[in-house]
Symmetry: C2
Subunit: 341 residues, 2 copies
DNA sequence: CTGTTAGCGCGTTCAG
DNA sequence: CTGAACGCGCTAACAG
């Protein structure tokens, strides 16, 4: 029908015809069936954002960035939550392929690249957010986890801490290993030997943060500072510390990767490495939209956004006896405790 | 093709043919085009959840309830965020109608029913969540706002408070007016005259909570307790109180409708009326799915779920001088201050 | 500038 | 039990 032209182009139609069609549309309350259009045009104007934890404000903020960029160009966004499970991730990808989404923004549950292979097989473009994936040739947007961790741990060391424990996420997730790498660089910088390292891998949630902290506290000599690799781990840590009767930062300093939204924490006092979450989402969506528009180079692009240390009241110099003693004498068993989990 | 039969029914096909087809599917990595199926079958197996603030954990929890119930029956969910704007709401509904969703779960931005009319015109079933809408004949799931507010304010009164200020959301939203009604009932029960009422209407966000609190604090005599109609309002209130150097609950008690998730608030101390958010979402989805399956009665159904007062450390008896004085003598100007906003 | 023809990938219907 | 024809509502590609 000519109707189609009126609705889409509006070029190549006479004003009067257009007028007539528009009036009819208004009278009938006509709305084009997007499904049929999509079936015909092979494009759904829909992208998907697959992420690992929709309850985490970091990811909600990313989601907002994605949505704003996408909607500005007339794209809809489907949000999918994998709960850090690769199986769920694949499950969702299959659904998305069937539903013919134009592209997928993916926060991968692991550093495996099978998900990306699946997408590639079906000719779907992808952008990987927040985390790295092994040997993938896709667009990527993330923050510099290693550098951010370096900043946080360096800050703790400058305050006088010598025994810092890292509470990390899964060893299969690049943000964990990158942040641990940053931690190690900070120790090296300060000539703190690897025998003083204490790394615990776990999961990116509250329960795991709680449990890792309990484990960290039994080590002797006790660490004087915690570096938590994400916000939920930090929340679990705080709870464990409180139960143990420890006061932050007097008895234990704590620095965190990821901020929590201002208002949600009634007493925002955490020293954090803040990431530009909204920008991560927005720029990832931009990369995807460019590619869908055909304006993107064939080669994959990588955007690494800066992060920023914000010092607040959860970090302070360690108690006097703690600073000095271990710097002089490190007991033998320390070197074997919990490192590399 | 016979392929269709294999994928859908699997009845009326010989085992060997089925086998052959399945093998071919596996080899080719074939996935049916859901779009074409939907075009043909006039059903998308998709429902939409339109809500007013995706940043609010109350609504995220509802979303989880909806998603779980929907996915269990093979339905996908599209999430849409209106930011409390009726214009955005209508905009989204148009998109959803075009995309042929099977039904819409709606947290209406206002108590107007134009959105529901639009849906009805296009033959789309709807379920209204959390809030009431004027003169609508649709399924509804909500909690008993009036009763919950009654519980909270009664608790404050039992502690000895006589000057309680309500910080409400928009006057066009039923949860606001219902909670204010509950507040009034509590005052009446205690024979506190309407001249002691103080009601401020605003918006369901932090900034508004902050601003309303500033206004409430200038009233003389000052209120001794705040009843905040949602969690974000309470957060804004806390910030305003802190800036004014007031200590909770010593200088001011505060009770809140809506809980905040455990972990997110490092020091969970708020006395709250907790709603079964997950259940609201789940049951709303169930109503919709029943209706889509044709198992629902023609008449609209309303489910009102119970809510529960959880007393914590943000409420305490008022300071002595405050309790007694106003109960005896209420200054004239008090009656005119801020009530009915 | 407008009308016509064909087909997107399925499911339904009716013959074989 | 299986295959062939038809159409869902739209747009691409041609005629006119």
């Amino acid at each position: 029908m000519t109707v189609s032209r009126v609705i889409n182009d509006s070029r190549h139609t006479s004003p009067e015809t257009r007028e007539r069609v528009n009036r009819a549309i208004a009278e009938l309350g006509y709305m084009p069936n997007v499904l049929a259009r999509q079936l015909r045009s092979k494009t759904t104007k829909t992208i998907a954002l697959v992420l690992t934890d929709i309850a985490n404000p970091f990811f909600t903020t990313i989601a907002r960035g994605v949505e704003d960029a996408a909607r500005a160009r007339g794209y809809a966004v489907m949000f999918c939550n994998t709960d850090e499970s690769e199986a769920e991730e694949l499950e969702y990808l299959r659904v998305l392929i069937q539903r013919q989404v134009d592209g997928v923004l993916l926060v991968p549950a692991t550093d495996s690249s099978v998900s990306l292979k699946l997408l590639a097989e079906h000719g779907l473009p992808a952008v990987v957010l927040d985390r790295r994936v092994r040997s993938a040739e896709v667009d990527e947007v993330r923050t510099d986890s290693e550098f951010g961790a370096l900043l946080a741990v360096r800050h703790l060391i400058e305050l006088g801490h010598r025994r810092v424990v890292v509470l990390a996420g899964p060893e299969t997730v690049s943000t964990s290993t990158d942040r641990v790498a940053g931690y190690r660089r900070a120790l090296e910088e300060a000539d703190i030997g690897p025998e003083s390292e204490q790394v615990i891998f776990g999961e990116y949630n509250e329960a795991s943060g709680y449990e890792m902290t309990r484990r960290a506290l039994v080590a002797r000599p006790q660490p004087t500072a915690i570096f938590a690799c994400n916000n939920f781990i930090a929340i679990g840590a705080i709870q464990a510390l409180r139960e143990s009767g420890m006061v932050v930062p007097a008895d234990m300093s704590i620095a965190v990767f990821d901020d929590l939204p201002q208002g949600w924490v009634l007493d925002p006092f955490m020293t954090v490495v803040a990431q530009p979450a909204y920008e991560i989402g927005r720029q990832a969506a931009e990369l995807m939209l460019e590619r869908l528009a055909g304006h993107a180079p064939a080669d994959p692009r990588t955007i690494v956004l800066p992060c920023q240390l914000i010092t607040r009241r959860s970090t302070a110099p360690p108690r006097r006896e703690a600073t000095i003693e271990p710097a002089i004498k490190v007991p033998a068993q320390w070197a074997q405790t919990e490192s590399h989990a």
